[in-house]
Structures are given as structure tokens and as C-alpha cells.
């Protein structure tokens, strides 16, 4: 079936770009008035913003604190480990991207490539990093894009089991990344109070994202289970967590986890917060997954059972692959708000991105530079969320191939 949906006009009546614009925005006087009002409002705002960014803002505060905002007080001699982690990340990310998209380069991918390349060329130079560091970033991006295109070219020859298990690679990357960051096993230990900035934000968010999936799945299954105690337990957990604001849970977590666990076992503040985030997100993930599970027709389970599959096989081979596909948009929305919720950690005294920014602003040298710092913060968060959104969109497209033609 061709995508004739986009051609509203017969091909011989193709309009020029100008004509299309006129029809879209100025077809009649009222449309024209609304369009004019909107355009002038946007232009005025953009003009003000641009004037501020170019003439009034003093971006020195960003350049002077870029390392602090990125890493916190991570010791200089150990930073090579973070570079190593970045190479690992760009390797896995590039391969994943390629395997997901294969040889196609849709508009989203071209846009992402352009933005990524632009940022790599501009940002390190803009915050006055030495040329060696700038070159390092160029290398990382080039490596990522190289792997993206070569993995895309080879994806058709990768055996399906590898593709099915690919997602399991990310927890492995996280654990080895934490090994690199924290040290141990022969590496010098870097204690957690020295981790900060964007690094800490990502450590916390990724921890919660990886763990809330299995936890949320267990809760969703518990909630639809036949065992009354299990079902009531899951319902109580989900309703309690969803009824409490995250910030109160975070304060509670700092106090309660210390009482609940025996002395030596109580994790330090950073991991306590990460667990609270996980516990919080898993309740919402459970609800998203429950909606996915509910969307699978009863006949799917009956067909699987009557072919002799047992409960576990039915779940893992028939129900979950379909349920996760349905729940994916809601799950990604959850991940995006989880990432933004990490800013609340600054209120319990953690030096993640927002906490670090506030210490920068408390420095008398940078007094009054709030706007500059918060604009950069917003842009950093936007980049992370945009990457999440693009990734999930690509995953959705791949998973939805089989639904291209809907015939019952």
C-alpha cells in the first residue's frame, strides 16, 4: 500500500512552495489575521531573546564552570576513566542506533546527526576547552556516526537472537560504567560525594530507568494475579506511591532507609535517593505496563496455552512482546519525567545538575547570572529528553513493521 495519504492533490496540480504557504496560512482573512498575529509574536520574542543572548548575557559563567556542571568535583587525574566510559557509550549507542534503523536515514536521524555534529563542533569551543579536548569530542561523535552507518549496513546479517537480547546490553554497560566511575578492582576509588553535575543526574536517572522496568513488571503482573494477597499487595504499593509527592518520598527515604536496614548495609545518600526514584517510577511503570497487558486479547493467551506453552512461555513469547509495544509511548513519557524529577534531588542536598548550578550561582563572583545558567540547564535537559524521544520513536517504528497493513 503506498503512502498516498500525503498527497491531497493529484500529482499534476503540485503547488509551488509559496503557494502552499499561502494556502496553509493565508487562505482567508481570518486565517491571515491569526497567522500574522502569531508570526509577529514569535518574531518579537525571538528578537528579545536573541538581543539578550548576544548583547546582555555574560556567558563567562558557563565557560568558567563547564567542568563543574558536567562532572562535579570528580578528581582531575581520574577523568580519563570518564572519557573511556564516553567511548564505551558512543560505541553501544552507535551500534544500537544502526541496528534499529538499518540502512534507512529518516528525517529524524538526519536532524539528530546535524544537531549532534553542530553541538560537537561548537559547544566545546564555546566553553573554551583546550584543542585536545575539542578534538576528543570530535572523535567521539565521528566514531558514533561511523558505527551508526556501518551497523546499519550490516544489520540485515545480524542473527535475530542477538537483536532480541540487545537491550540486555544496557544494564551491563551501566554496571561497567559505574565500575569506571566509582573505581575499585585496582582502580583508585572515587567516593560518591565527588560525583556531581550532569554525571550524577545521569547516574541517578539511568539507575532508576533500568531497575523500575523489572520492578514495574512484577507489580503489573502482581496486580493482575489470581492470588488475592499478591494482588492486594501490588495495589496497595502502587496506590500509596502514586498518592505521595516524590519530594516527600525523597525526604522519607533519607530518614527511613537508615532505620529499616542494619547499620552497615544502609546505602549512602546517592544510592538511597536512586532507590527512592526507582520505587517511585516503578509504580507508574506498573500502571503503563498494566494498560499494555490489558490490551492483549484473551485469545492470544488461549492460543498459546492450547499449543502447549506453559504460563511463563506464554508470558515471555506471546504476551509481553505485544504488551511492551503498546506500553512503549507511556513508558518513554515516564522515563522523560523521571529524568526531570532528578532535579528534586538538589532539595535533599545532592549535587546533581541543579544542585551544582545553585552552588555556582551562590558564588559571589557569578552573582546575578541566573538566567544564563538556567538556560543552559534547560537546554541540557532538552537534549537528553530529545534523545530519549527520538530513540523511542525509532524503536516504535521498528516494532510496528508487522502492523503495516491492518487486516483482521
Amino acid at each position: 500500500m503506498s503512502s498516498s495519504r500525503h498527497q491531497q492533490l493529484p500529482p499534476q496540480e503540485q503547488l509551488s512552495a509559496l503557494e502552499t504557504l499561502r494556502l496553509a496560512c493565508f487562505a482567508n482573512p481570518l486565517d491571515g489575521l491569526i497567522s500574522l498575529a502569531l508570526i509577529s509574536a514569535v518574531l518579537a520574542a525571538a528578537w528579545q531573546l536573541l538581543r539578550w543572548a548576544l548583547l546582555q548575557a555574560q556567558w563567562g559563567v558557563i565557560a568558567a564552570n563547564s567542568t563543574l556542571l558536567a562532572l562535579g568535583r570528580y578528581p582531575e587525574p581520574q577523568r580519563w576513566r570518564l572519557w573511556l566510559l564516553l567511548w564505551l557509550l558512543s560505541t553501544v549507542a552507535g551500534l544500537s542506533w544502526g541496528l534499529l534503523r538499518r540502512q534507512s536515514w529518516p528525517r529524524n536521524d538526519l536532524l539528530a546527526t546535524a544537531v549532534l555534529t553542530g553541538l560537537t563542533l561548537w559547544a566545546p569551543a564555546a566553553v573554551a576547552q583546550p584543542l585536545a579536548v575539542q578534538a576528543h569530542w570530535w572523535g567521539l561523535t565521528a566514531w558514533l556516526l561511523l558505527l551508526r552507518s556501518s551497523a546499519g549496513a550490516m544489520a540485515a546479517r545480524v542473527p535475530p537472537p542477538v537483536l532480541q537480547c540487545w537491550a540486555l546490553l544496557w544494564p551491563v554497560v551501566y554496571v561497567s560504567g559505574m565500575g569506571l566511575i566509582a573505581g575499585g578492582l585496582g582502580l583508585v576509588r572515587v567516593p560518591s560525594p565527588l560525583w556531581g553535575g550532569l554525571l550524577l543526574t545521569l547516574i541517578e536517572a539511568c539507575f532508576a530507568m533500568l531497575l523500575c522496568l523489572p520492578l514495574g513488571l512484577a507489580l503489573a503482573l502482581g496486580r493482575s494475579s489470581g492470588l488475592p494477597l499478591l494482588r492486594m499487595g501490588a495495589v496497595a504499593y502502587i496506590e500509596f506511591i502514586r498518592g505521595a509527592p516524590l519530594i516527600t518520598l525523597l525526604f522519607l527515604g533519607q530518614n527511613i532507609l537508615g532505620f529499616l536496614l542494619p547499620g552497615g548495609l544502609s546505602p549512602d545518600r546517592i544510592w538511597r535517593a536512586a532507590w527512592v526514584l526507582t520505587v517511585f517510577a516503578s509504580a507508574y511503570v506498573a500502571e503503563a505496563l498494566r494498560a499494555g497487558l490489558a490490551a492483549i486479547p484473551r485469545g492470544q493467551v488461549e492460543a498459546a496455552r492450547s499449543l502447549g506453552l506453559n504460563t511463563a512461555q506464554t508470558l515471555s513469547h506471546v504476551v509481553l512482546p505485544q504488551a511492551i509495544k503498546v506500553a512503549l509511548p507511556a513508558l518513554v513519557g515516564q522515563f522523560i519525567s523521571l529524568l526531570q524529577d532528578t532535579t528534586l534531588l538538589s532539595l535533599i542536598g545532592l549535587m546533581e545538575l541543579l544542585g551544582t548550578a545553585r552552588t555556582v550561582l551562590a558564588n559571589p563572583e557569578f552573582l546575578g547570572r541566573n538566567a544564563e545558567v538556567y538556560v543552559v540547564l534547560a537546554l541540557l535537559f532538552w537534549c537528553c529528553c530529545a534523545a530519549l524521544g527520538l530513540g523511542s520513536r525509532a524503536l516504535e517504528v521498528r516494532l510496528n513493521r508487522q502492523r503495516s497493513v491492518a487486516v483482521r
Binding site: 486479547p297 485469545g299 492470544q300 492450547s306 502447549g308 516494532l399 508487522q402 503495516s404 487486516v407 483482521r408
Partner: protein
């Protein structure tokens, strides 16, 4: 067709089966049925008569409270392992096809033999392609179910059940969800299957199929088996008044 009866091996024996739904409705009332190996039994009856419920008790999709069902020597009891053992030997084809939409046609066929019987994937794939050829859709092996017509999907569903090499096949209104022009291609496959000696229990409204293929026709109404007869006798000279009423309604 009746010579299959000569073998006289009992494939399915249901005795005094009673089912109550959780809402208290008495869905099956003391039903008995014996099916011999190689036999094709067609169950007919008005909707709500319990014929689908009866069929679904044969592979444990529906519970029953009293009575006994023995399939190929295995008693369906509360033991889950026995239930799984029976499901391995009994194939089922549904009204809504129930193909797995996230798997290709070929993977729909190979999933259970590989997972449940532990057979080698390449070997199962060879068998699956042969089966798809038998039902006339081997060109579509790498498509997804959503890309096929209803008739094609139902033929895939039949092939999927056959890939487990079942001893007994159950059909739950296999043509009721199909567009009229696709009914025949599915019935054709079922007819060939019956000619090959498969033991089949079929719930259907297709009178022509029952006349031509069935060894016996069962009429159910209000959860009871009212009449069991050879098709020629059932359609020309029904004994029970409900049978006469039912036949006059569908003709």
C-alpha cells in the same frame, strides 16, 4: 468414512460433564460424547447452547465441575501437568484465528514445536514450510499475520496447530468470522484434513460441510446433548423436536 470407526480406538470420552459458570449459570448439563480415532464429529446448535463451552473443556480452556473427560488415555483433572500434556496432543482452531501478530507466519508455526517439544528449529522450519504448502500459502511464510486475508490467516492457524502433530483437532466456529468468499478455502483444507484420517471435533453452522464430511452430527441446546446421528439421518429425518426446530430455522 464410517470405516474409520472399525478401528474402534476411543480418542475422546466425555461422561456426565457438568459446568457451572461463576455467575451460577448451568452451562453444560450431564453431557456425554465419545469420539473414535479418525472420526469427524460436528457439533451444531443455536447460540448459547454450550457447544463452544463443551469443545473448550476438551483442552482445559474451560473448567468443568463434575464428570470426566479422557483424551487419548489421559484424564483431564486438576493436575496442571496433565492439562499441559493434553494440550500438546490436541490442536485448536479459533473463530478469531488468534495468530500471534508480532511473529511472522513461519515463526507462528515453529514457536510451539521448538519451545514445547524442544525440537531443532531448522527441522521444524522444514516441516512448517511443507504444512504451509499443503494449505496453499507457503509464499506468505515470511509475512506477518496482519498482511494476510482472513481466510489465509485461518489456514495459517490450522497449519500452526498441525505443526505440533496433534492426535485430535478441535475447531471452534472456524469460518464464522470470515467474509463469505473465504469460507470455502478454509472448509477445503478441513475436508482434506479429514480425508487424511485426522480425528476432528468441529463446532460450525456450515450444513454442507456437516453433510459431506461429518461421520456424526451432535445437536446441543441449553447445555444438553439432544441428538447424535449420522448426517444423512440428522438432516433428512431429525428425531428430537429441538433438532427439527433448529434445522427449520437455519434452512
Amino acid at each position: 468414512m464410517t470405516q474409520a470407526l472399525a478401528a474402534d480406538v476411543v480418542m475422546l470420552e466425555a461422561r456426565g460433564v457438568n459446568t457451572w459458570y461463576p455467575n451460577g449459570h448451568h452451562a453444560l448439563r450431564n453431557v456425554d460424547l465419545t469420539v473414535h480415532q479418525g472420526e469427524v464429529v460436528v457439533i451444531m446448535g443455536p447460540s448459547g447452547s454450550g457447544k463452544s463451552t463443551f469443545l473448550r473443556t476438551f483442552n482445559g480452556l474451560e473448567d468443568f465441575q463434575t464428570g470426566s473427560i479422557i483424551i487419548d488415555g489421559i484424564n483431564i483433572g486438576d493436575d496442571l501437568r496433565q492439562r499441559d500434556a493434553i494440550r500438546r496432543e490436541v490442536g485448536m482452531v479459533f473463530q478469531q484465528f488468534n495468530l500471534f501478530p508480532h511473529l511472522t507466519v513461519l515463526d507462528n508455526l515453529t514457536l510451539a514445536p521448538v519451545l514445547v517439544r524442544g525440537r531443532a528449529k531448522t527441522q521444524v522450519e522444514r516441516q512448517a514450510l511443507e504444512l504451509l504448502e499443503r494449505v496453499g500459502i507457503h509464499e506468505q511464510a515470511h509475512k506477518y499475520p496482519g498482511q494476510l486475508s482472513g481466510g489465509q490467516q485461518q489456514r495459517v492457524a490450522i497449519a500452526r496447530s498441525l505443526c505440533m502433530e496433534p492426535r485430535l483437532m478441535l475447531f471452534d466456529e472456524p469460518t464464522s468470522a470470515l467474509d463469505p468468499e473465504m469460507v470455502q478455502e478454509v472448509l477445503q483444507v478441513m475436508q482434506e484434513l479429514a480425508a487424511g484420517g485426522m480425528t476432528m471435533v468441529v463446532v460450525t453452522h456450515e450444513v454442507r460441510f456437516a453433510r459431506q464430511v461429518a461421520d456424526r452430527v451432535v445437536l446441543m441446546a441449553d447445555g444438553e446433548v439432544l441428538e447424535i446421528a449420522a448426517p444423512e439421518q440428522f438432516f433428512s429425518n431429525p428425531q428430537h423436536p429441538r433438532s427439527q426446530q433448529f434445522l427449520s430455522q437455519i434452512n
